[in-house]
Point group: C2
Chain length 129, copies 2
DNA sequence: CTTGACCTTCCCGTGACTGGAACCCCCATT
DNA sequence: AATGGGGGTTCCAGTCACGGGAAGGTCAAG
């Protein structure tokens, strides 16, 4: 299978697939003409990577998770550890964003949004309590 | 005032302040020895930028907001527009992250986290429904 | 034989900084 | 006068996970 087909099948852009090869996440074969040739196991890996990335795992996490996936003797504790660390990061980010949303939401609500210059948003940014 | 003092006063790293000068957000004077000299209005601007960045505004948004801040004839509608667009982005990101958290949370809960290899997290990433 | 859709590599750009090297400046102490 | 330390300066490279685009090779159809 060529990269275009794999892209269609996995939903990953061809650029991304090439990048994943570059950094050693997937190792397709090569045809005589230099084209990449993907086996079904490569497609499977790429789907795995796509799902892991969609859950927000970093590339390095993906590498770790792939290694665990392929290690039949893994301990699920190792997987869970990676996932829980990532979950904690997600939750931290959600908390940050919620704080921003609250502050910004109040400011937006307080702003008249008309053609006059008075603006609580700018007042807040300018340091007015 | 030198950059170290400004850094202490604004909480922004000196590197960041230099970067902000680089991209034209702030224009400190220069002493004979080449040192940057910050006036109180520069410090004020930097505080403004720090607060805007803390609310997650992009640098380009900050540039826009600063311009509005300094424009006495602004319409608050223009400020509100920028803020609302950013708020929408924040909310979209929160929604994404909440979805990730929910999925990942369930998977983590379902994972035994022991020394056996069976792992619902990897099963899900591997494409098992 | 040509067209057009693929494929290849390579290099640059993204956003908002951060780290580090190499060097200058000023003040205080020995 | 030399030295040491704590400022400051510039510039270059790296981050993360790609995306855009150029320049060129390959393949199947008309």
């Amino acid at each position: 299978m060529n990269i275009g087909d794999v892209s269609a099948r996995t939903g990953l852009p061809a650029k991304t697939i090439r990048y994943y090869e570059d950094i050693g996440l997937v190792k397709p074969l090569r045809d005589n003409n230099g084209y990449r040739v993907f086996r079904s196991q490569d497609v499977h890996k790429l789907n795995f990577l796509g799902r892991a990335r969609a859950l927000g795992f970093t590339i390095e996490d993906c590498r770790t998770l792939m290694a665990l996936y392929e290690d039949e003797t893994r301990a699920s504790a190792d997987v869970k550890k990676v996932a829980r660390a990532h979950l904690a990061q997600i939750e931290a980010k959600i908390a940050d964003l919620n704080a921003m949303r609250d502050t910004l939401g109040h400011l937006v609500d307080a702003c008249a949004g008309d053609d006059r210059p008075d603006c609580p948003i700018l007042q807040d940014l300018g340091g007015n309590p």
